[in-house]
Amino acid sequence: MSTASSTHNDAAAWSVEMSAIAQRQDRDSFMRIYDHFMPRLCLYLRGVGAVESVAEELAQEALLRLWQNAAGYDPAKSAVSTWLFRIARNLHIDHGRRRDNQAASRGELDDSSWCTDAEVTEDQVDQAGLQRRIDELSAVQARLIRMSYFEAKSHQEIAGELDMPLGTVKSHLRRAFERLQQELGEGA
């Protein structure tokens, strides 16, 4: 598991690689990002239910979009890991809906562009603090957060699986998220 400081350094390092991709289509920079994130994205996609070949296909697609959209990348808006997570998740949802012949889309802005919402920012310096807060969650909070993100389980499914009332699942998640949202630096 990464330590807080290496996560912080990674986030800054990935931004430098992104600038190199944006300014001079630097393939070596891109492949360093690729080598780090490709196996992790595959693991994530397997976790939320994709079979191995689909997980690989979707992870490749997510990384290709990173290359194609590098010019619009603004490190003040989102970390590379955030952006890849968002794209991989949406590709997985869309893949599931196409498979089930569901026409309805997720109904969000075109997600192959970076977050361009002027009011939404993500301070890179806080990556380390956020990482520490994730590490400090209680065992039950950490488990519920992991089941939400890595198994994409609905709150009802989690409640059923853990034999826990739905209201309790929600209040644990609510408290976990409030902890993760607290002003970084506070109580750290």
Binding site: Y34, S78, Q102, A104, L130
Partner: protein
């Protein structure tokens, strides 16, 4: 207008992690269009997702597989166009007749073209079933009307599109979201002077306790 009623944190996590039904997601996305505070929270939840992905131990399933994929990616870079600066995002439309984009797959794009059905004096509705079997319900309630008292078997998320209503939880105006779970029983009353249009997603049948409401239940079919 700045919304005063926001999404529950557990809903934010559900949407960020892709675990909400498409029906609930459509209402969440509708609220996000008009709520910077919830967009910021969503961005934070996605950032948590990114960090969780990043911190996984990468048990590489054999280098040969990785090398093969790596070669395939290098070939795709050859063929892919050079990185381009993306076009500016399209602002949400200011046309007052236009429904929020996340609702278009279910209700079309125009308020004027909505095909309302009669439900009672001063009450109209449109009900549709989403791709995962959840219900999407749009309601148009005349000013000053009492809605039937109801509670929820599961989750209900309601976005107020026009007008306003009051219930025990407060005053809900256009742009606000009521993100409720099964513990809540409420009876909204629409505000005077203007009709209220709201859209709700439900992932379980409503439970109407009263005789009048029970009569309505077969009409809703929910």
């Amino acid at each position: 207008m700045t919304p005063r009623h926001h999404l529950d944190s557990s809903t934010i996590i559900g949407h960020a992690s892709g675990a909400l039904s498409p029906e609930l997601s459509a209402i969440v996305a509708t609220h996000l269009e008009g709520c910077a505070e919830c967009r910021q929270a969503m961005s934070h939840a996605e950032r948590v997702g990114g960090l969780l992905v990043d911190q996984q131990q990468s048990a590489t399933g054999g280098m040969s597989r990785h090398d093969r994929l790596r070669d395939a990616m290098l070939k795709r870079l050859e063929q892919a166009a050079a990185p381009v600066r993306p076009a500016e995002p399209v602002e949400p439309s200011r046309d007052p007749d236009r429904l929020p984009a996340p609702l278009h797959p279910y209700f079309g794009s125009s308020y004027r073209a909505l095909k309302w059905r009669w439900m009672g004096p001063g009450m109209r509705y449109i009900r549709t079933t989403g791709p995962s079997g959840g219900t999407l319900l749009m309601l148009k309630i005349a000013a000053g009307k009492h809605m039937p008292m109801h509670s929820h078997g599961g989750t209900e998320i309601t976005q107020i599109l026009r007008g306003a209503y009051d219930d025990d939880l407060g005053h809900f105006a256009a742009g606000d979201v009521a993100d409720l779970d099964s513990e809540v029983t409420h009876q909204p009353v629409t505000s005077a002077g203007v009709e209220c249009i709201c859209v709700a997603a439900l992932d379980a049948p409503l439970r109407f306790p009263g005789w009048f409401a029970r009569k309505l239940q077969p009409i809703f079919g929910i």
